[in-house]
């Protein structure tokens, strides 16, 4: 080792981003999640699910959060943990909008015909279907929604027929 070389610093498993409440910023949040998640070793499939759920959670905040959302930042926090042969990642979305727990929303009934189908309302379906777990709390005027995804490298390899 030369006198100028420094040991590589371990990557921080927690990273945060603050965004404004608009669609450009939602896109910026996805870019941030993609880069931060890849750098922390989240595989592509759970990272896609996390991005989809975060995007839908932010869309809900923007559409239904009320006037407080526009005048306050939305805070995002990514946590990544290794566990056994896999890992878990979570994104927490914190906003000052109207209190809303997406876990309490009844799943949308599947329409039988195209004429019966109502555009919209699929965001909560995605949260329920693509997150491995959802946590919600409301404290000091803020919603905190945490979206969890998990993965298992050995299971993924087995499913691809590589094990």
């Amino acid at each position: 080792m030369t006198p100028f070389a420094s040991p590589r610093r371990p990557i921080d498993p927690v990273v945060q981003l603050s965004i404004r409440a608009d669609s450009d910023e939602t896109r910026r949040a996805s870019t941030w999640l993609g880069e931060a998640g890849s750098a922390r070793g989240i595989p592509a499939e759970p990272l896609w699910r996390l991005d989809l759920c975060m995007t839908e959670a932010l869309a809900n905040v923007l559409a239904h959060g009320g006037p407080e959302v526009a005048s306050n930042a939305i805070e995002l926090r990514l946590d990544v943990r290794a566990s056994g042969s896999g890992g878990e990642a979570s994104v927490t979305v914190s906003d000052r909008g109207i209190a809303f727990d997406p876990r309490t929303v009844q799943p949308k009934r599947r329409p039988r015909t195209l004429q019966e189908a109502e555009p919209g309302g699929h965001g909560v379906t995605f949260l329920r279907q693509f997150a491995d777990a959802l946590d919600y709390s409301y404290s000091e005027g803020q919603n905190h929604l945490t979206i969890h995804v998990r993965w298992n490298h050995e299971k993924a390899l087995a499913e691809k027929g590589l094990r």
């Binding site: 669609s23 996805s30 195209l114």
Partner: protein, 114 residues
């Protein structure tokens, strides 16, 4: 987001969407997508193979246009090829059963024209 189209015949149009169909992406193509899919062409195949991300707002646009087309006596089908993320997203909402979705291009075309 990019949107292109090809009129295969007088009554059959292929629309190709590519990029990220999130809120920003849907805003970028919404007007053109609606105009192209509900115009005089009665059969429309929407090629989603180049979609890198499909959010619920993008599905909303597909559904609205498919409904409008049906109300005008037309039909829309979706072609996803090997894009499993887009297929999973559509399947999660059940939209794939209302606007037929195909992985095979020839089958998609046959269904659109059938």
């Amino acid at each position: 987001m990019a949107i292109t189209y090809e009129d295969v015949s007088d009554s059959f149009r292929r629309i190709v969407l590519s990029g990220r169909l999130d809120s920003k992406g849907t805003d970028e193509i919404a007007v053109k997508f609606a105009a192209l899919s509900t115009a005089a062409k009665r059969r429309v195949l929407v090629d989603l193979t180049g979609i890198s991300f499909l959010a619920s707002i993008g599905i909303r646009a597909v559904l609205s246009n498919a409904k409008a087309l049906q109300n005008n006596g037309g039909r829309m089908v979706l072609f996803v090829g090997g894009n499993s993320a887009v297929a999973k997203t559509l399947e999660a909402t059940g939209i794939d059963t209302l606007v037929p979705m195909f992985a095979n291009a020839a089958e998609a075309e046959k269904a659109a024209l059938g």
